[in-house]
């Protein structure tokens, strides 16, 4: 663990920050993004596009609320379809991001410093995109709060055996913890931004008094005293620990939403583990994509080095292997288990009418990561970007397979019915992507997307003193 007072040289980490970076240069590079808004036009184009997608989400939700969830393609037996697929996918991304960031924060992995803000931001915004679904997928969304324990005159509490109740608790906790983790980590940075904004006003090259005030408010009066640092470190680490526990709880909980039933293909003790690994996998894939993009857009190659890319690629490779293990175990357990219904589900997953989902998992998420056995490819931002996208896509297919393909045909063949996606399912999902992009773009513009304080600490530990 690195603390601001640590002065021990760390030669091994010299590859994770470019040489010659000083406190001044780090702060300047990052804060300038927030102050000067580089690439103003391109940002606006991207933001307008994202807002248009948010508009699509708005239209889809409006129609949904007017007509009911019947505007989607869900039916009996496929009561959960793209709604829960998208939810599980987003929350998987969020969980993966948070877990990686929190775990490496606790383990003191130095290389995380450049990535943690991106990771936490992706995680929080993905959680926001996910949080749309648990409410809107309800038949009567205006009663969503019945799912929560609140005092009422009927003395009715949620049904605590239901995984759905715990999922609601999990996602609410997740939002709180992810927000706290992200925000607490940013407080010193906000202070830097505040100070720099004031300095800019003093130099008369900026008249951003309002900005200085806003950053001042969110910096919560941070002065950088030893006591502040002490408490900050404690709070940050406690939240990180909470985050780790919560991610495990959320993902296993989401898996128990399926495993807790008696349905073939769902009723499986391995499912919680598989869900957790899949979530981290998708989270890291998303982070990889976002990192490569931000690095390219804002020219952050001095702060995000090929070493970072290498670490992300290795993570993807390990997670790919873990996911392969889960898939293979499920395959063998089903094939050798002798349950005809389970075997039927597996058969339909692999060669049924929607076998594309299975093969997308295999070809997009499990296979391409093996490129990362080669060091040169690990350091290629293009390879990381493409593989990251493929993995994210493959894990979407994974959720689709687990939920939709399984539900279409369970025990009684008489009750089986195919599922077809409606335009409104797709519009809602595309809208949630728009929501993610729009929030991400706002964060990119107004927030320090690489942690200033962490980078400074990193530089200090590299140089063994204040550079």
């Amino acid at each position: 663990m690195i603390s601001p007072s640590s002065t021990r040289p760390k030669p091994l980490v010299s590859s994770i920050i470019a040489p010659g970076q000083t406190f001044e240069s780090i702060g300047g590079t990052i804060a300038d993004i927030a102050f000067t808004h580089p690439m103003r036009r391109r940002w606006w184009v991207a933001f307008a596009f994202s807002l248009a997608l948010v508009g699509v989400l708005g239209a889809a939700l409006l129609w949904l609320f007017i007509e009911g969830v019947g505007v989607w393609g869900n039916n009996i037996p496929v009561t959960w379809a793209l709604d829960i697929v998208a939810y599980d996918w987003w929350i998987g991304v969020a969980s993966g991001g948070l877990l990686v960031s929190a775990l490496f924060q606790l383990l003191g992995a130095e290389w995380r410093s450049a990535l943690n803000r991106i990771t936490e931001t992706v995680s929080l915004i993905a959680a926001a995109a996910a949080a749309v679904y648990p409410i809107i997928h309800l038949g009567r969304p205006w009663f969503f709060y019945w799912n929560l324990p609140y005092p009422n005159t009927l003395l009715l509490w949620p049904q605590v055996r239901s995984p759905l109740f715990w999922d609601a608790v999990d996602i609410l906790s997740f939002l709180v913890v992810a927000l706290a983790f992200w925000y607490i980590g940013m407080i010193p940075d906000f202070a830097t931004l505040r100070d720099r904004a004031i300095a800019r006003i003093a130099k008369k090259d900026d008249k951003g008094l309002l900005r200085a005030q806003l950053y001042g408010i969110v910096a919560l009066g941070w002065r950088g005293s030893a006591l502040h640092w002490h408490r900050w470190t404690q709070a940050y680490r406690i939240i990180a620990m909470l985050g780790v526990v919560l991610v495990v709880s959320l993902q296993t909980g989401a898996a128990v939403m399926f495993a807790g039933s008696v349905e073939p293909g769902w009723h499986d003790t391995l499912l919680p583990v598989a869900y957790l690994f899949a979530a981290i996998f998708s989270g890291v894939a998303f982070i990889a994509v976002a990192t490569v993009l931000l690095r390219a857009i804002f020219g952050l190659s001095a702060l995000i080095t090929p070493r970072h890319l290498d670490v992300l690629a290795k993570l993807l490779l390990i997670l790919g292997l873990l996911n392969l293990y889960c898939n293979a175990t499920e395959f063998f357990a089903t094939a050798l288990g002798g349950d005809a219904y389970d075997a039927g589900v597996m058969h339909r997953r692999m060669v049924g009418s929607q076998a594309w989902a299975f093969w997308t998992i295999a070809l997009a998420s499990l296979l391409p990561v093996h490129l990362f056995w080669f060091a040169a490819i690990r350091r290629s931002s293009l390879a990381l970007f493409v593989v990251g996208l493929l993995v994210a896509l493959g894990l979407f297919a994974d959720h689709f397979m687990v939920i939709v393909v399984t539900l279409q045909h369970d025990f009684l063949p008489s009750a089986a019915h195919p599922y077809t996606t409606s335009i409104w399912d797709i519009a809602t999902f595309i809208g949630s992507i728009g929501l993610f992009l729009a929030l991400m773009l706002l964060a990119m513009r107004y927030l320090p997307l690489v942690s200033i304080v962490e980078m400074k600490r990193l530089a200090q530990s590299v140089h063994g003193r204040r550079p």
């Binding site: 038949g139 969503f144 239901s162 039933s261 009684l412 008489s414 089986a416």
Partner: protein
């Protein structure tokens, strides 16, 4: 448009010529001037029947007068409170005696299908009939009902029903009608009724028949024609040919030890279904020793062939020869064996020979006179006549045929035609040209429930009252005269057929009750008849009115030119069979949303018809389900999608009636394909030599069951006759939750469904829909997988029962699947808001107003019996339909899950009654809707904790098993295995 040449047709060109030639008026301001020419009048009548009266009517000035009056009247109409059915209601200022708000009252009445009666009890709440139940006292239906009876309650509330008298398709009144008819009726009377014809649908009601016959006495030159019941097919003709007179055949399953059905239809929809399926099932259940085996030979799969123990698919043209072979095999067992056909014949022949005098061979109504004759001879030779087969006087009265009417109309011999309860323009065979002949009739009066094809071609359309709102009578298939009692004041301005006849021909129009009472009272004293009449009304029928048995008639000698070699048909053609539709019958019930959305028992298709095709033929033509084929024969052709039906004879296709109609503003407009296009006399049920071409188009067909096979599982189990009784169920296994879910109360509701008794008739499904306010969602929603039926009847094909022949002729099984009410219900684990939970008596309840719609319960349900209101299915329906809903059952809003709750409202009612009385609920007090509707009593419901209950006894039957028992969910609904005869030793 018809292409037939009309000798009187004059086209516009002639009129143009008249005008151009100067023979017409030189100056003409309006068509009046030209219209005076008879040619133009004819043209106008032919092309614009509705406008013809304008030409004949007042002049321009008069027209404006009429219009002014019309506008004034239209203004008056606006003063009405609207057409929501409330305008005629009168609030109960003083409580009528015997009526408590919210307390159901039951009236014995009769539902009519195809002219025949089924005795029912009509449940009314707050004066509204809301549910049909079986009448257990009725000698024919004995408490059972059919889909048609169950659905009739929806027909009553149908806002699309004809609501007013129409003259030339404009709203008119009864007074206008009567006034307009006084002159013509007087003229007819003076002329002894020459040129006057009555055409009715099938009528069995003694009072109506008497009324018509009295009318024919008054008008000796008048004639009565009747469209024959669809369910009778060729029976009347066969009987006439065989015995020289019409006789009804009675089958006595209880005296039989083996039944051989030649294209039999006694279990299929129709007036015979309720009575005969009950009789057959009871005989099968009661059969001591070997099972009462059913051998069936069928060209197209029916419910009868589906329930058969030994079934054989045979080409329709081979059936007569096969019966001859069967007869020969009974005399001399054949030695050679050439596969399934010979095996089937040998087995049936052996069984018949072994059960002489107790065998029963029967033939379906659609079979030819030759087949009926062969069957009759076989029964006679086996000594079955008089024991298992008897004869009674016919229920149907004698009346002229539709062909005779068309001939008379075409010849111009008909001046006035009165049509009652029939829609001949749609139902008459296309080649006899009913519609064209009808155009030659001067005065066309049509009384019907709907403004349909015939109504649009008539001068006068009179709205009939629905059977639930008028007096009347009808005979059941066994002849029992059953009374139709109104259960509500007529919603609209309709009259019954009897009242219309009275209005037309009686000096003073009598009401339905007076006509009915007068008929049955006859010459008896009113005071002494009163108690008899009251009892009859309470019972719903007149006891002892079943048709009298007649001694077995002498059989006409076998004609020399008996069917010879089967027709030599071109190999590229097929035989097209026609059958009444299993849900909407001949189209007369097409307006019922419940029946339209009811899955056809074998194909599970909803909202339309398709042509059934055998797997072999489909393979030969490379056809898949939904592929549109062009059927053609001579000048007849029809494009229709195919549906592959196992058990269909290889070279035979089957199309059901009742679809392909074009009547605007109806729910059936444009649904399905019109079978009548391909039908022709003299063989209305079969067309040979139809060519089949693949068009390459594909139609979207909505079906509720895509998968036919049990996929290697034993959802349906078979208990073989003679095998040692072997418990089918797994017994109770431990659960993680231990004894926590044991019923805390002394009651434990449970249900046992006997799959051997289930004939797949669907009565339970409609009864459930009616009882539980289940929404109709339409074809698109069903195709998406959002049908709302709480109870479905699964249909599987297998080779489990006997010796089915793969895909071509497999065994068919039916399995009604309601909610299993699992004791360890997985759905309850899923619900986060406790909207679905157990009550103390073991019911798995749905609390609709607590449901937020997560749908987790459905995902968790291994039986997938839960239904979700994806859209607002119930909110937007017509107010009149809303008023027919069961007030004891919540109407579910959008976004709410729903499912079977064992009719919890009935359980609750019984509990309240029992609690008030301080007595336990007696076994049999609570009947679920599906249970009470079932004609074969396949469903038993009651308290499992009561060891003396019927349901507990059924649970102890060795045939009892749990569906998906391996999941250990402890379902409260269990099944009894189907029974099958002992498999014979393989023939060498």
């Amino acid at each position: 448009m018809t292409a037939r040449h009309d000798p009187q047709a004059v086209d516009l060109a002639t009129i143009r010529e008249t005008l151009a030639s100067g023979q017409g008026p030189t100056f003409w301001q309006s068509f009046d001037a030209v219209a005076r020419t008879p040619a133009f009048r004819r043209f106008l009548e032919r092309e614009y029947p509705a406008a013809a009266h304008l030409a004949a009517g007042p002049d321009r000035r008069g027209f404006f007068k009429l219009m002014a009056a019309s506008f004034a009247m239209a203004g008056l109409a606006a003063c009405d409170a609207g057409d929501d059915g409330r305008a005629k209601e009168v609030a109960y200022v003083r409580q009528p005696e015997g009526l408590e708000p919210g307390v159901p009252l039951s009236y014995a009445s009769t539902t009519v299908i195809d002219g025949y009666a089924n005795g029912v009890l009509v449940t009314t709440v707050n004066g509204r009939p809301i549910k049909i139940e079986g009448n257990p006292d009725h000698p024919w239906s004995r408490g059972g009902t059919d889909i048609f009876g169950q659905a009739s309650v929806l027909g009553l509330y149908d806002p699309a029903r004809s609501q007013a008298v129409r003259y030339l398709n404009r709203i008119s009144t009864w007074d206008t009608f009567r006034a307009a008819m006084i002159g013509p009726v007087a003229a007819l009377r003076a002329d002894q009724g020459r040129g006057f014809r009555i055409l009715t649908g099938p009528i069995t009601g003694p009072s109506l028949i008497a009324q018509i016959q009295a009318l024919l006495t008054d008008f000796p030159q008048a004639r009565w024609h009747m469209t024959p019941p669809v369910s009778q097919g060729g029976l009347a003709e066969a009987s006439q040919t065989l015995f020289g007179r019409r006789l009804d055949t009675r089958w006595h399953f209880d005296r039989a030890r083996v039944v051989v059905a030649i294209d039999g239809d006694f279990l299929d929809p129709g007036p015979q279904q309720v009575g005969l399926s009950r009789a057959w099932v009871e005989a099968r259940d009661a059969s001591a020793g070997p099972l009462l085996t059913l051998h069936a030979l069928a060209a197209t799969p029916t419910l009868t062939s589906a329930k058969a123990d030994y079934h054989l698919a045979a080409e329709p043209r081979d059936i007569a020869a096969l019966v001859d072979r069967l007869a020969a095999a009974v005399d001399a067992p054949p030695t050679a064996s050439d596969g399934r056909t010979a095996q089937w014949i040998a087995r049936a022949a052996t069984a018949l020979r072994d059960a002489k005098g107790a065998g029963l061979v029967l033939a379906g109504a659609m079979q030819s006179a030759a087949v009926h004759a062969a069957v009759h001879r076989l029964n006679a030779a086996l000594g079955n006549i008089g024991t298992t087969v008897t004869f009674t006087e016919p229920v149907l009265p004698d009346a002229g045929t539709v062909d005779g009417l068309v001939d008379a109309m075409a010849a111009g011999d008909v001046s006035t035609l009165l049509m009652l309860e029939t829609n001949p323009v749609y139902t008459a065979l296309s080649d006899i040209g009913f519609a064209n002949a009808l155009a030659k009739v001067t005065t066309k009066i049509y009384a019907g429930l709907y403004v349909d094809e015939t109504a649009l071609r008539c001068d006068w359309h009179l709205p009939l009252t629905h059977p639930l709102e008028c007096w009347g009578d009808a005979r059941a298939v066994d002849g029992t005269a059953s009374l139709i009692q109104p259960t509500v004041k007529p919603f609209y301005d309709g009259r019954s057929a009897a009242e219309i006849l009275s209005l037309l021909f009686d000096g003073e129009a009598r009401d339905g009750l007076a006509i009915l009472r007068a008929h049955w009272q006859g010459s008896q004293n009113a005071a002494t008849y009163e108690p008899i009449w009251r009892t009859a009304l309470l019972d719903g029928f007149l006891p002892g009115t079943a048709s009298p048995e007649v001694s077995p008639p002498a059989l006409a000698p076998k004609s020399a030119d008996a069917p010879g070699a089967p027709l030599d048909l071109r190999p590229d053609t097929v035989t097209l069979l026609f059958r009444p539709d299993p849900t909407i019958w001949d189209g007369s019930l097409a307006a019922s949303g419940w029946l339209q959305e009811l899955p056809k028992p074998l194909t599970k298709i909803v909202w339309e018809n398709v042509v059934a095709i055998s797997p072999a033929l489909a393979q030969q033509h490379q056809l898949e389900n939904g592929d549109v084929v062009a059927l053609a024969l001579d000048d007849r052709s029809l494009d229709v999608p195919v549906w592959i039906v196992p058990g269909q004879a290889a070279r035979t296709m089957t199309l059901t009636l009742g679809y392909g109609r074009r009547v605007t503003d109806t729910i059936f407009d444009g649904l399905g394909y019109d079978a009548n296009v391909m039908r022709a006399s003299p063989s209305p049920w079969l067309t040979d030599g139809v060519s089949l071409t693949k068009t390459g188009r594909k139609a979207v067909i909505a079906t509720t069951q895509d998968h036919n096979s049990m996929e290697g599982q034993n959802f349906i189990r078979v208990a073989r006759d003679g095998d040692a009784p072997q418990r089918q169920g797994e017994g109770v296994r431990p659960s993680l939750y231990g004894a926590a879910d044991k019923p805390k109360d002394e009651r434990a509701w449970g249900m046992v469904i006997d799959t051997d008794r289930c004939t797949g008739c669907n009565a339970c499904v409609v009864a459930c829909q009616s009882e539980n306010n289940i929404a109709v969602v339409g074809k698109e929603q069903v195709a998406m997988g959002r049908g709302m039926h709480w109870l479905r009847v699964d249909r599987y094909y297998s080779l489990a029962k006997t010796d089915g022949n793969g895909l071509d002729d497999p065994d068919t099984h039916f399995q009604p699947v309601p909610c299993m009410q699992c004791e360890l219900a997985p759905c309850e684990v899923g619900c986060p808001v406790e909207a679905t939970l157990h009550d103390s008596e073991g019911l798995n309840l749905m609390v609709y107003n607590r449901c937020v719609g997560t749908r987790a319960c459905s995902g968790y349900c291994p039986y997938k019996v839960r239904r979700f209101n994806y859209l607002d299915y119930s909110g937007g329906v017509a107010p009149s339909i809303q008023s027919g809903r069961n007030p004891d059952v919540s109407v579910r809003s959008r976004g709410v899950m729903e499912k079977c709750t064992y009719c919890v409202q009935r359980v609750a009612e019984a509990r309240i009654t029992a609690d008030k009385a301080g007595a336990p609920i007696k076994d049999g007090t609570v009947q679920t809707a599906c249970q009470s509707a079932c004609p074969t009593r396949a469903i038993t419901f009651g308290d499992l904790a009561d060891s003396a209950s019927a349901v507990a006894a059924k649970r102890n039957d060795p045939r009892n098993y749990d569906l998906l028992g391996e999941l250990n969910l402890r379902p409260r609904t269990t099944y009894l295995a189907e029974r099958a005869p002992r498999l014979p030793a393989k023939e060498g």
